[in-house]
Symmetry: D2
Amino acid sequence: MMIGKAGAARTSICTADAASITVRGHDLCDDLMGHRSFTDFFFLSVAGHLPTEQQRFFLDVLLISIAEHGLTPNAQAARMTYAAGPDSLQGALAAGILGCGTVILGAAELAGGLLVKAKARVDAGEDIDAVARDIAMTTRQAGGKLAGFGHPLHRPKDPRTERIMTLARDQGVSATHCALASAISTAADTAWGKPLTMNVSMGIAAVLLDLDFPASMIKAIPLLARTAGLLGHLAEEQRYPIGFLMAAKAEEAITYFPEQEAGA
Amino acid sequence: MMIGKAGAARTSICTADAASITVRGHDLCDDLMGHRSFTDFFFLSVAGHLPTEQQRFFLDVLLISIAEHGLTPNAQAARMTYAAGPDSLQGALAAGILGCGTVILGAAELAGGLLVKAKARVDAGEDIDAVARDIAMTTRQAGGKLAGFGHPLHRPKDPRTERIMTLARDQGVSATHCALASAISTAADTAWGKPLTMNVSMGIAAVLLDLDFPASMIKAIPLLARTAGLLGHLAEEQRYPIGFLMAAKAEEAITYFPEQEAGA
Amino acid sequence: MMIGKAGAARTSICTADAASITVRGHDLCDDLMGHRSFTDFFFLSVAGHLPTEQQRFFLDVLLISIAEHGLTPNAQAARMTYAAGPDSLQGALAAGILGCGTVILGAAELAGGLLVKAKARVDAGEDIDAVARDIAMTTRQAGGKLAGFGHPLHRPKDPRTERIMTLARDQGVSATHCALASAISTAADTAWGKPLTMNVSMGIAAVLLDLDFPASMIKAIPLLARTAGLLGHLAEEQRYPIGFLMAAKAEEAITYFPEQEAGA
Amino acid sequence: MMIGKAGAARTSICTADAASITVRGHDLCDDLMGHRSFTDFFFLSVAGHLPTEQQRFFLDVLLISIAEHGLTPNAQAARMTYAAGPDSLQGALAAGILGCGTVILGAAELAGGLLVKAKARVDAGEDIDAVARDIAMTTRQAGGKLAGFGHPLHRPKDPRTERIMTLARDQGVSATHCALASAISTAADTAWGKPLTMNVSMGIAAVLLDLDFPASMIKAIPLLARTAGLLGHLAEEQRYPIGFLMAAKAEEAITYFPEQEAGA
């Protein structure tokens, strides 16, 4: 049975015959292999066309910025899964990828949404700083969280965001979205009455939007980046296992408390 | 409780403090972001050290070679999963990654194992062609499958393998493992009495071993590569959905056959 | 680092020592094994206490109602994944579970939310039929979808919903939520000017709420139920593989259309 | 393209039309819902036919025996995944299922394989105790692990195995496979010179084989059972989160050790 309404039965990604593979109009073997970097390929795959030199440069920057942060919960989940099923590297990787949820690596998308809305107001004639102050104040007063701000470790600055913003400025890439990110950062410090870290997710979103990346890139970047990091963790787990040890330590830290739950 | 024996409670991948992140001894922000490509980072992550220029070049080649092949079963699984749960890109990606199993993308590891054993015989003094003939003949006579050979579409040649081997030769990278791959290919044609495609998995394994990549790389490459391809499919699925349509067509092709199974 | 604020370091589910395992205050071996059904155990696990006889009866009914519907997209994804990686049954199962998303099996939760809101209005003094008409009309006029209604195959009635509702009526379990479901069904037919199928998700939600199941049960039921169904598909795939065949048929149905995408 | 050789394009599991759903020849609504337990359904799904009363009783026993063991590594992975992506219950469940690998929950299959081989020798005329002694001694001398024996916590007895074996004896179900399990247990104590726990996986395998369950059941049981347990953990995580807290404790226990790896 067909669920929902059927659209056109077509794909524009890839076709192949016995002697060749074509990806987005490019011959995989002759035009891409040996001529392009994997980062170029990733951009082509998601965006549908090859990146400019500058887009490629910053895609490398952004991918590296978010690829690794040590024994994060999802790196632990991947390593525990690998320890339990060492014959399935793909299973352990998948477990790690499933932990790239809204709370952790999904923040870039939320930050991007914030910037897109703010940009629309600026385009409609409002002042950047006024928009930033309004967003920060409104969010603060509603008791909400400001997407792209806050970090459990990197305080008062996230070094990755600093680096992204510096590179964007130095290379003349910064435009309205980066300006908005900075203005919101200043306004947030005032609204919260203390420095609020502009985290890496906001840096990624701002540069990505100023460089005219496709919208779908914003979720794809953290996922590909973290995949590289997770594969590193799994290579280490294979040689120096700590998965079960971490699980034992985590278990020890939790007490059994027999609650009589009336209705759960 | 501790499952198995506990090893050392340590990791060598990453540490972080408020102002910096260190990956494998490199400052992530100052030394890697803006200076290195994502491909370099991936090598660092899995191998523990940065690649040589040549290793980086070929890692790009190998990643691109295996990243995309259209609507493969796991790309379909990812797209169907995304259609069913569009709020979880990571879930759809994970479903696609789970399909990178031994039958499809796991072949590079098997091919690598074949080459490693063959290389040991050559190092011990045996002749390359003799070793190749022995492997092909023995496998054929035992009715077995030759790892790294055969393809449902690319016949008699896999254009990706051709391209990998040409680049390796042109850049002076080909050594014993590449020579063994070619020799086994020739011997296989004879043993089977027809051309047997040397597929991309054998090409990846041969170059990777001749370039002294770490062993763990051989499984990591197809997984990272296919992640990039899958993210492209999911970006397309978001805009031009075909997941449920493919499922409807597949379902139509299968007939219900009420079997009375005695014991299953 | 601690992400977010740490809560109490405790669990109420299970504790174990060398000689015993205690689940929610019950000795697993002496009190549950041999005395209780797996359905009882599942209720205990999610709700925190054992079910009444009636709750257990209807939990069996609801689980069976949603466990199997042939070659659904996620059953296909599971079978394709198994075909590609036959050494990892858990990987194939996980792929199938990932397809239990909002569009397909998540509908019960949405339907439950609808009923909870409607019930609050009835409790506040509004008439059941008036509430139902208001919900149907408002949703229709806003061009929205009515949670728990519509099915691609079962028209005009979903036999599973019929059966659930009949059993609930016969056993005196039907109360306000079931009455609301029926009233909304009638109102929807009027609002849409044609019969709209009240699907199994609405049936599950209504009975579950009238029987005072914990809220978390509403998502857990389809997941456990479908797991049983998927394990059946994977057992069949092992003996009579159709995973790759379905993928080939689905691929054939899709045409490559080389689109020059300007921005994707 | 078709990967491998295409088999028959058929399924025997389920068919549906507008008014009915048929599972393995049974009308889902009329014959199963309200008449059968979910355990019956699961057996039907995997085995292809309904269980006997005794098979159903022991399937309940076995499912419950392996469903829950507190904060196991995969329960932790599921909870960490849920904490990171609370909008995807299916993603968190999938992460937990991926940790049901060979090292932890896959042991039942290995234990079953051991018993099947041993049974073949007994059927061929060898003495049960002699076969058991030979298996234990040969494994011990080869420095191998005895499938179905050993447990990090339950020593010297696994209370679940004791309970399973007692129930099997009391109900007259014990036959050659159970006898072999006991004999191997005795022989193992001698071979290792200390009590070796016969764990729950061996208990499951022995009873399942003596009750003539289909072979595919042996892997399906731990997966379905643990799914129920995981859904309980995720319901608790929703109300009383400990996922990130466990991750923080596990991370604290691991030291960064900057290793200069020469080749990884």
